[in-house]
Assembly symmetry: C2
Homo-oligomer: 473 residues x 2
């Protein structure tokens, strides 16, 4: 662990070697995470403009034994970007916000190279400018930065078709804990020359180094897009619809999201301006599905045919198929506003689990039953069901507040994660471990893997300066 | 490095703890690699039947400081599976050939779990039995085993669409160098719970542990397949055709292979029974292309349309489109027999490079020019051009033998790899480093990455028993 703080005397000592505006006292915005769950330690933030400056900063911190918290867009949901108050040493926040250059775009190669501080929406836009797709897409895309997305291996709504963030990365540039720069910004689809350092850094949540640049995969844009909301028979029918859709549409399915009546109820209560797909009728279980097709196929026709077949098999009972771009946006607004409605209701406990696809129905049934025994909670179970990934969130009964139930949070979290583990699932599908889920990692993680992680961490960061206190139990 | 040999006294000491047939003197087949480049050290082979037995063997070797060479199907092309004669200590060959069980298939989840010793063709067949595709496909699929394919992150002909072997793996079971079993056989598409040990082991060529089982991704089978051979204007036109095809067919292109006149010449000379696509006419540059389409699209029509457009743009001059499954097989036989024809001619030097796609034409032109200055060689440049991966192989002039030119091999290899490196490419796209390319890794590898690799190796395998002498300089 770090032996010193990034206090004013440390910053003063360093500042002569850097541009005058490198260091600042960390404002409140750096010390909060999106759900407001805890307060970060008030220290300093460094805002380098180049990889070289990052390297110099890391070297100086390494020498002094000062911790570093790499900071991207600040959108992480497990506190990986926040060093909490009360730790013995205050780390330096290293924000990549000034490294926002798209370094190069190679449309013919379907490659884009970006600084780590580029905001996801800007990468999407740069890809679109050359008629390509960068498929990573999630609610925080307007503020999340690619370095943080890689550091946490973010998921989102297009994983089913295009994979997680790690699958979209061809190469990295990173500053390792000793301050040396690894230049791995390859534009190659195949490169079998030694250990996969790229994937080791991706998802390590800043504990093994600071990502400063990335070489990213672009994709051809599908010729046409289609979106539908299907009302399914029950939770189990989600998998039946997915199987049927896959057999019909192969890999053309970009998104396959589960929504539950509770989500629509919450929208009606808290965000009534969001137009709901079946008006005031809120079906129990729905699937929001996106497809992207090659030339020669019509997405509306494909979705209609799928509906007819799925209805004949008793899988779906109703559907709305978007007839326009505007309607597609409307359907997606429902899905995207559910987390905000959740936030306004206030969850007693929220979860980011994934289980093997075949275990999803049994997971949902078992958890519902177990929670019913704890109390009369409302459950909003939604998310990336095509990936086996559910955001299974538990809310107080109507008219009551989450604050009345905070004593139950721990028990609920435990039972949800226990059942997920029993079914071969995980306690963190796409959010990572950060600081919030370290105890879970210790409880549910494979001990041999944990020992290997610890050995790797000690080997690459013997002073423990990189994101101290995060991930590793 | 190991401090002791797996000699008869070591094996005798161990044998009481294992089934009687666990150990045997290694026959010649374990001591050769496919191109017959060197001879392995004659020692013992262990053939465990279970992960537990692998664990016991590794523990025993670790205690005794005896090296282990993990052995799959023996098809590796860089000597990773062969500990050469002349090393101070003879390692134990640990063959996975008795671990050939497909443990489970989950068609609904598109997941298959297999022992590490299952032959690739058997995995393909098990997937086909449930109407799914396991897309990894390469010339040695009848003998390569999945553990070795993962250990080397094998490539093959379908990488363009489905990725390298690492992209097809959801989870691993592996015995780490201390003999402990990591159970990471997840069936999850999303699991962000700590460092990516899976990808660290994949491609580490047995130097960090022994893979004993894998959880693999299956895919829906495309509704219809199409194959064509296009005659392209010149090497540069390969990229133009790829761009055009991608814009028309999106991700439906499964394979995009370059073939050169020399390959057809060699076939005519050495394997005249292989039917060549344009008979005795051998065009200079050709692309063999495979597409797999969803329902509602006709592959022959799609390929014809592509041809018409590409001809209009001056990209292609001729084409044959397969009219039947038999003709598809015929076209593929040409591609698949080229390496055998190469072998019979006898290469002075062969290469497995990849460069950024946009640099391919300049790579081909520069290397041809540079080699012409060394001597009057024949060049067969072919391979997975859609991935930027070329097998750029250099042969003696007609009527002469490779043995006359072995003095030039080193210089040719150097110039090919130098030019590849200058263009941002690699000296090993899909074959790995093994023992044959260690000096290349030292010459071309990023020093910061190499230092990190060494630190990781020392941390996980402090005694250096896992595949000693492979990969790490």
């Amino acid at each position: 662990m770090p032996r010193d703080s990034a206090d004013s005397s440390f910053v003063e000592r360093l500042s002569s070697g850097f541009p005058a505006d490198m260091f600042a006292r960390a404002e409140q915005s750096y010390l909060e995470e999106p759900r407001g769950r805890w307060q970060g330690a008030r220290g300093f933030v460094a805002r380098p403009r180049s990889t070289e400056e990052v390297s110099d900063l890391v070297k100086a911190c390494n020498e002094a034994g000062v911790g570093i918290v790499p900071y991207g867009g600040g959108t992480g949901l497990v506190g990986g970007q926040i060093a909490p108050e009360g730790e013995p040493e205050t780390p330096l926040i290293l924000s990549l916000e000034r490294m926002t250059r798209i370094r190069a775009v190679y449309p013919q190669e379907n490659v884009l190279i970006a600084d780590a501080g580029v905001i996801l929406a800007n990468i999407q836009a740069a890809a679109a400018e050359v008629d390509r797709l960068f498929p990573l897409s999630l609610a925080s895309e307007g503020s999340a930065r690619i370095g943080g997305l890689l550091g946490t291996n973010a998921g989102g709504v297009n994983v089913l078709r295009y994979g997680n963030t790690r699958d979209l990365c061809l190469g990295l540039e990173a500053v390792l804990p000793d301050g040396r720069v690894w230049n791995g910004l390859k534009r190659l689809r195949k490169d079998n020359t030694g250990y996969d350092l790229r994937n080791l850094l991706i998802g390590s949540e800043g504990t093994l180094g600071v990502i400063t640049g990335a070489s990213l995969k672009l994709f051809p844009r599908p010729a046409s897009l289609g979106t539908a909301v299907f009302v399914i028979r029950d939770a189990e029918a989600a998998l039946e619809l997915l199987s049927l859709a896959k057999s019909r549409l192969g890999e053309s399915i970009s998104a396959f999201e589960l929504m539950h009546r509770t989500g629509l109820d919450f929208l009606a209560e808290k965000l009534p301006d969001v137009r709901r797909p079946f008006g005031s009728h809120h079906p129990e279980w729905m699937i929001l599905m996106d497809i992207g097709l090659p030339r020669g196929l019509d997405p509306q026709e494909a979705l209609e045919t799928l509906f007819v077949d799925a209805e004949a098999e008793g899988i779906v009972t109703d559907a709305v198929i978007a007839q326009s771009e505007a309607q597609r946006d409307e359907f997606w607004a429902v899905r995207e506003q559910i987390p905000e409605a959740n936030r306004r209701i206030g969850a007693v406990s929220s979860h980011d689990v994934s289980v093997p696809l075949g275990e999803l129905p049994s997971f949902i049934a078992r958890v519902r039953q177990a929670i019913a025994q704890v109390g009369d909670f409302r459950i909003n179970c939604f998310g990336h069901v095509g990936d086996g990934n559910l955001h299974f969130n538990v809310f107080p009964p109507e008219g009551r507040s989450r604050d009345e139930f905070l004593d139950e949070t721990k028990a609920i979290k435990r039972l949800v994660h226990d059942i997920s583990a029993e079914l071969g699932g995980t306690f963190s599908a796409e959010h990572g471990v950060g600081r919030a889920k370290k105890a879970d990692l210790e409880r549910y993680g494979d001990p041999v893997k944990l020992a290997a992680m610890r050995a790797i961490k000690d080997a690459l960061d013997p002073k423990g300066i990189m994101n101290p206190g995060a991930v590793l139990p």
